[in-house]
Symmetry: none
Subunit: 226 residues, 2 copies
Amino acid sequence: MNGKIFIIEDEPSIIQLVQHNLEKNGFIVSSSLNGNDGLKELKKFQPDLLLLDWMLPDLSGIEICKNIRKDNSFKNLPVIMLTAKGEEEDKIKGLDSGVDDYLTKPFSFNELMARIKAVLRRSNPNTVSDNLKFDDLMLDRIEKRVFRDDQEIKLGPTEFRLLEFFLINPKRVYSRDQILESVWPNNINIESRTIDVHIRRLRQSVNLKNKKELIRTVRSSGYSLI
Amino acid sequence: MNGKIFIIEDEPSIIQLVQHNLEKNGFIVSSSLNGNDGLKELKKFQPDLLLLDWMLPDLSGIEICKNIRKDNSFKNLPVIMLTAKGEEEDKIKGLDSGVDDYLTKPFSFNELMARIKAVLRRSNPNTVSDNLKFDDLMLDRIEKRVFRDDQEIKLGPTEFRLLEFFLINPKRVYSRDQILESVWPNNINIESRTIDVHIRRLRQSVNLKNKKELIRTVRSSGYSLI
DNA sequence: TTAATTTGTAACAAAATTGTAACATTTAAG
DNA sequence: CTTAAATGTTACAATTTTGTTACAAATTAA
């Protein structure tokens, strides 16, 4: 992962948390605690993406966003807006002002990361290197391929999404409900037993001979990688 | 070749010659006849490279160059300076002001082209690719021809753009929506199934006998080269 | 203009994927 | 050991997705 991210956010603890984690993930990060400083710094920093707080001491996030869109050198700068709970009703307004995505506080860093990747992938594919690795397994989200060591593993769409899901937090145990919610398109109704079958299919593909089992069953809880 | 080049030059005949030839080579070109206009236009045009005449009616090329270097959004804009004979003694001064390369008038277009390529290759490699290659496939963007090994492949316009699109990021999987957005002129409405048919046509042309399949179908995701 | 090429879509064929049921096996508790 | 619950396995029909072909409309060349 590489690319520059700028943060405008008045809550120092959030800045610290996000900045630290983004840097750990290979991004170059800079930030401002208010809108006016932010707009100035932005010019110097030339980021690939902007994280923007909705409520700031001086300018609102929306005003900043509109400012940015007027400036030709930032015309296509992707913006992710951070909003506090209860501001949801304003979402549409925000989207109209040219925001690329939203995140409601409090959010998990993983969620933020996912949004950042998604947005960057659209605007500037080179900044996002998207390989998920675990043990001798490698999943390439861009080429949609999976390898174990150097041997390619062919997966169907659902198996791919399932493995992708596990790889984001390997080792973590997920219940069938959690898996269902994250891996299947929303509002779909399938039996929880169906997941077992897909796990079985995934296992069959992933467990090459002479390789150790990668998917763990946690009785009465769910599944995880191991 | 692709990329945007801006020219600031007060001699219309030179502009015409250079602009015309650059466009024939796939560049998008815009120009101004004096320094003040040029500086304004530059902002709008956001070029990948600037051709700058040394002597201009209002500002000197050097002044323009210094101006540009002060502006953060142009910090790394490559500049090639055009000088008339007899100004050589000033070359060093010019280089200090942040010019990337020089060309003494009169110059041949080929010479200019060589310098442009050299400079662009350093600053922005993606803009300098006359032909796209992948495996035994070669697409010449200038002559609009495609070869597999040495055998020419005739493609229709849409097939050509489609292949060109894939060749920029081969291996990467694109959804039908992404393909549609990038390969078809904006605001056009076609069914996503239509892409399948064009893929089929492209395959038929590209897959010569005894050659391996080059276009991969990724079920429920899209297509890529392979 | 006419002829030739290119393009988008519909319609059908083929292939891959999916969900579920039914049965088998394993596990944990008593 | 027996039993019940949870999970593994298999087969299969239904659905979804993609491939293929044909054709009329649109575009371009002659």
